[in-house]
Symmetry: D3
Subunit: 68 residues, 6 copies
């Protein structure tokens, strides 16, 4: 019955369809392994957040990526 | 003063403008009826989640819909 | 398959067990009525937020309640 | 280490790139000032919510804006 | 830089300290494996939700557990 | 009309009542300054997350604090 929300950067860094399927499978398996949660009712949602809308260290990821 | 967030599948399953208005009205009325919350300050947001980004039973809704 | 999160004030304003059951039933029915969502996979979580931890109009609900 | 999520209306009311950078900087500074949190690990995400998907007072922001 | 939120039932079903550490390690590794995300900036929060505050199938988990 | 959620570590690191009031005032002012949002309808909630339930770098904050 767990609910999991995963936020990652989108745009040019967005995960592929296959990578999203792997995240969903992986986190569902993890909850079954560690907490014996029933995979049938484990819900996962993935949010792809624009790099202008994600901040760390007081600046947007867009700015941060320019320097690296 | 309640805050409600509703996540539903988007894309070809996305609710119409009218359906979203009904959800907002319905949940605001429910909070007024059950908890006597003031509708004026009840806030509702609706997220439409892509079917590749929603998982249940360890697979994406995209995969699940193909089988049904 | 919808996921709904409801945040209301807790503490002395916390909903009772019966009120929480009514909110869960009501919002699940609403999603079935408006969007034909299957109640079996509709998930609802309720957060009770302390009045010191909820702000509106730039002040905590605790302060706001003192004046009313 | 704080995590902050800011939801504002999008579409024609969406914040500009510069405004989003100011929100991220401002909230990171606020957490450093008030709670001495390290800016390096403060994470902020901004969600721009469509005006059809945001409700207050039992109606969508789209409807509300029409009257004002 | 990902942010993950995991909601599970609390109370008598709450995960132990060790199980929570395993969930955090597991989901951080998953994001490194699938998306090459840097573990140093992967943030995970776990919410333990009271069984009266979690609904599925239109009823609380408390009610559901009584029947099983 | 913005909605802001702030998550910080709780327990021995929990913000005081006064600090929470400052965060609410500060973030409401920031949204008024940067985006001209009406403070009257700006809603802020603060979650205090147990250090066993917060992970960064693949480990709990509890473990991390022991080493520093």
């Amino acid at each position: 019955m767990p609910y999991v929300n995963i936020k990652v950067t989108g745009g040019s860094e967005a995960p592929s369809k296959e990578q999203k399927a792997k995240l969903i499978k992986g986190v569902t398996d993890l909850l079954a392994d560690v907490l014996h949660k029933n995979p049938a009712t484990t819900v996962v949602t993935i949010d792809e957040v624009d790099m202008d809308n994600w901040g760390i260290g007081g600046e947007t990821v867009t700015e941060r990526r320019k320097r690296s």
